[in-house]
């Protein structure tokens, strides 16, 4: 019943934007991995994860994100997050994700701040 993810990758102003459509669960891992290794994201110094505000994100999905953040940290990449609902902003703060990725209100705000 998990919805399949579709993650498109776009490069803007030196920033790789991973546009994540659909819910984020443990089943999302291969989609995140594929997007992260996309030529437009691979080797990028700055990555913005753009979530769908209506997405269902569970602990398995947060674990996938933590794995991604571990990889970005090894590669010394800067990570931003946008598109979260207020509830998931709270959850990401609660878990500590926000210590490793800045959370922005919009893509434009992220572009300005991460430039």
């Amino acid at each position: 019943m998990d919805e399949q993810n579709q993650i498109s990758v776009e490069k803007r102003s030196g920033l790789s934007i991973l546009d994540i459509q659909g819910d984020v669960t443990s089943a999302s891992e291969p989609f995140f991995s594929e997007a992260y290794n996309h030529p437009d994201a691979d080797g990028s110094g700055k990555i913005l994860l753009k979530f769908d505000e209506n997405a269902y994100i569970n602990s398995g999905g947060i674990a996938v994100l933590i794995q991604l953040l571990a990889e970005t940290r090894r590669k010394n990449q800067k990570v931003g997050i946008t598109g979260l609902s207020e509830h998931f902003k709270k959850i990401f703060n609660m878990v500590g994700i926000s210590r490793f990725a800045d959370i922005y209100a919009s893509t434009e705000e992220a572009l300005q701040a991460m430039e």
């Binding site: 998990d2 569970n58 674990a63 878990v95 500590g96």
Partner: protein, 176 residues
């Protein structure tokens, strides 16, 4: 513990299949809204119910397709009480809060956040109640005492977690 005479109940029987937790989420959200719970707390409830169901499916029922998860929603004395029952024997050891730094450094598994979220989002959590039918996790979210269908009640998100009892049957965790 609860005044059963003041109870309004809805019960769901879920197949032990990942994805069905979303049905429990949506039903719990409708139930809470019906009893006047505000949107912020409804979102807390949805996440906690989903995580409790996932734990029941993956750990309690060990992924067995023939097993079931029973979710019961009660309105009791101004609170929403959710019970998630699986066919397992309980949580042998309640894990400590996750250490995000260690997870990022890959010194501990990235997974294992479900119980942490439940404990921090609900006002009270009781683990390891063993009944004839199996193991029950009971979660309480307080709501204002309003008439059904009013839909405007709001209770602030829970404060600092205080662990009342850590392990064993009837392990009880609460936010006050």
């Amino acid at each position: 513990m609860f005044d059963e005479t003041n109870t309004r109940r809805v019960e769901m029987v879920l197949p032990n299949r990942i994805g069905y937790e979303r049905i429990a989420m949506e039903c719990s959200a409708s139930f809470a809204r019906f009893w006047g719970t505000g949107s912020e707390r409804v979102e807390d409830l949805k996440t906690a119910v989903a995580e409790a169901c996932l734990n029941a499916m993956e750990h309690g029922n060990r992924g067995r397709p023939e097993a079931q998860v029973v979710v019961t929603l009660d309105r009791v004395n101004g609170a929403i009480v959710v019970q998630v029952k699986d066919e397992g024997t309980g949580i042998p050891e309640i894990p400590p809060d996750p250490d995000i730094e260690r997870k990022i450094q890959e010194l501990e598994p990235a997974r294992g956040l479900g119980l942490f979220l439940i404990r921090h989002l609900m006002d009270q959590v009781e683990l390891n109640e063993i009944t004839e039918q199996g193991h029950v996790v009971r979660m309480v979210i307080r709501a204002e005492n309003q008439q059904p269908g009013s839909g405007s009640g709001r209770v602030p998100a829970g404060g600092t977690l205080q662990r009342k009892e850590q392990r064993g049957n009837g392990g009880r965790l609460g936010n006050g």
